[in-house]
């Protein structure tokens, strides 16, 4: 995306996905569509600061991109063969700012299902989604995922080549494929969010933007609404999660730092998901996040919901979370029994939170040396600096 004044940049971010999607739908070729879209945005970046922003920026961008693509195809017949156009239409000569963007279908859903197709690697799905729907530059995505720009550029090139060569469709999947494919789309967005939740806030904001776009495009899918609710509720606690760079546990967080308006919005979106009779894993997780935002938290209800989530996902990590809730709802020994059963199953032996949770419960029970040993195992497995400092503090407190 070209650089521009902040106001322009906002318009660009809002419109990039729609323009690109419409162009792919029109041309049937991702590379050509991306080049034409980029050209149109570059023209806008040059002209708008001088001529003013057109009345309908989206329509202007789409018409310009379409015309640029047509020009290119007319100059180069081999390009025409790449496209699905049997006959190349005339570039429209109308003053483009009179065009209404409702004249172009919104094909962002087709775009996101193409980007998140399971024939692509998860890494490629994430990069393509952020680039295409999110409008992030290759450089931005590379920085967010801490890889060199050349690596990210190569990843995107390979992904687009696979789309073309393997025939990955630009369409909303038919009903019998939709639940699986929608799951893949939501997983990509939540993965981006969790990358950001670990510290890189800009990615969390990107994920929420993607979540908002999906919620708008699929207003009747409860899991889509629920994922947005979940992200809003978690993200609302962002400012309270760290104090002076140190990790602060939920129970110790300064609630005045929570974003109250965003929590209200998250609850509203969750209510919509529940009204759509959603009972899927994102609905349950969002419901848990909403209960965590209550004062005091309803731990018995949270424990029940983790039980439900465990049945839906069959995940030992969820069972670990249930142990924490049970420890609060009943007492630490009840929680510890669940953690010990998990430890005995061996599923989470290399999972640092198993050991830190065990350490915490043992600490509360006054079993100091066992608690210290558990925290030390967690420390050996932790990579994040803030987490390492937190665990080191815990160990120091338990050392006589």
């Amino acid at each position: 995306m070209p650089d521009g004044a902040p106001a322009l940049e906002q318009v660009f971010r809002d419109d990039w996905g729609r323009v690109l999607a419409a162009l792919i739908g029109f041309l049937g070729d991702v590379d050509l569509a991306e080049e034409a879209t980029q050209e149109a945005f570059a023209v806008a970046a040059a002209r708008w600061p001088v001529d003013g922003v057109p009345a309908n920026p989206g329509g202007w961008l789409m018409a310009t991109a379409r015309n640029r693509a047509i020009d290119r195809i007319r100059r180069n017949r081999t390009l025409a063969e790449k496209t699905r156009l049997l006959e190349v239409p005339e570039a429209t000569e109308d003053p483009v700012d009179t065009l209404d963007d409702t004249a172009f279908p919104d094909e962002r859903l087709q775009l996101v299902f193409m980007c998140c197709h399971p024939a692509l690697s998860t890494e490629a799905q994430v990069a393509l989604t952020l680039r295409s729907l999110g409008g992030l530059s290759t450089d931005d995505i590379a920085r967010a995922f801490l890889v060199p720009e050349a690596t990210m550029a190569q990843r995107l090139v390979r992904a687009k080549r696979k789309i073309r060569q393997a025939g990955i469709p630009f369409r909303v999947p038919p009903d019998h494929l939709l639940p699986d494919r929608l799951g893949a789309v939501l997983a990509v967005v939540y993965l981006v969010f969790n990358e950001g939740y670990g510290g890189r806030g800009d990615l969390a904001a990107e994920a929420i933007l993607l979540g908002r776009a999906l919620a708008e495009l699929m207003p009747d899918e409860p899991e889509v609404q629920a994922l947005l609710a979940l992200m809003l509720l978690h993200d609302a606690r962002r400012d309270a999660r760290f104090r002076d760079g140190e990790l602060v546990l939920l129970a110790d967080q300064d609630r005045t730092l929570w974003d109250a308006a965003q929590i209200v919005e998250g609850r509203t979106v969750l209510d919509r998901a529940l009204a759509l009779h959603g009972r899927g894993p994102y609905v349950v997780q969002a419901a848990i996040a909403a209960l965590h935002a209550d004062q005091p938290s309803d731990w018995p209800q949270i424990a029940l919901l983790y039980g439900e989530l465990g049945r839906l996902t069959d995940s030992p990590v969820v069972e670990l979370n249930r142990a924490v809730a049970v420890a609060e709802a009943e007492d630490p020994p009840a929680g510890l029994a669940i953690v010990d059963a998990l430890a005995a199953s061996g599923d989470l032996g290399g999972y640092r939170y198993l050991h830190s949770t065990r350490g915490e419960l043992l600490r509360r029970l006054g079993r100091t040396s066992e608690a210290r040993a558990a925290f030390e195992r967690a420390l050996a497995l932790a990579h994040d600096d803030a987490e390492r400092r937190f665990l080191t503090r815990r160990i120091a407190e338990l050392t006589p």
């Binding site: 197709h117 060569q165 393997a166 025939g167 990955i168 469709p169 494929l177």
Partner: protein
Amino acid sequence: MKYMLLINQGTALEVQAALPPDEQATVWRDYQAVNETPGVTPGQRMASPDSATTVRVEDGRTLTTDGPFVETKEALGGYLFVEADDIDGAIAVAALIPAARYGGAVEIRPLVEG
């Protein structure tokens, strides 16, 4: 789009051999059904990978070794061609191939046209 589907048996042949006769008959019928699916051009039946001979040429000398190029378990066990609108059509056919559900796998390779 044209695709080649490469069938790797993995442990499928052993698993299928241990099935009761009526289930073995189902496996056979399922392969028949795949071959009769619209858009599918069946491949010719291949003898098992342990009958393979691998050829290399080094310094002008033809070297032959017994067995497949990859491990026997990873060797190609069969193939077929599918003509479909897009990869979803090829995936749907691949998922019908019994090897895929008995411990083997099917690899989809788009064919370059023109």
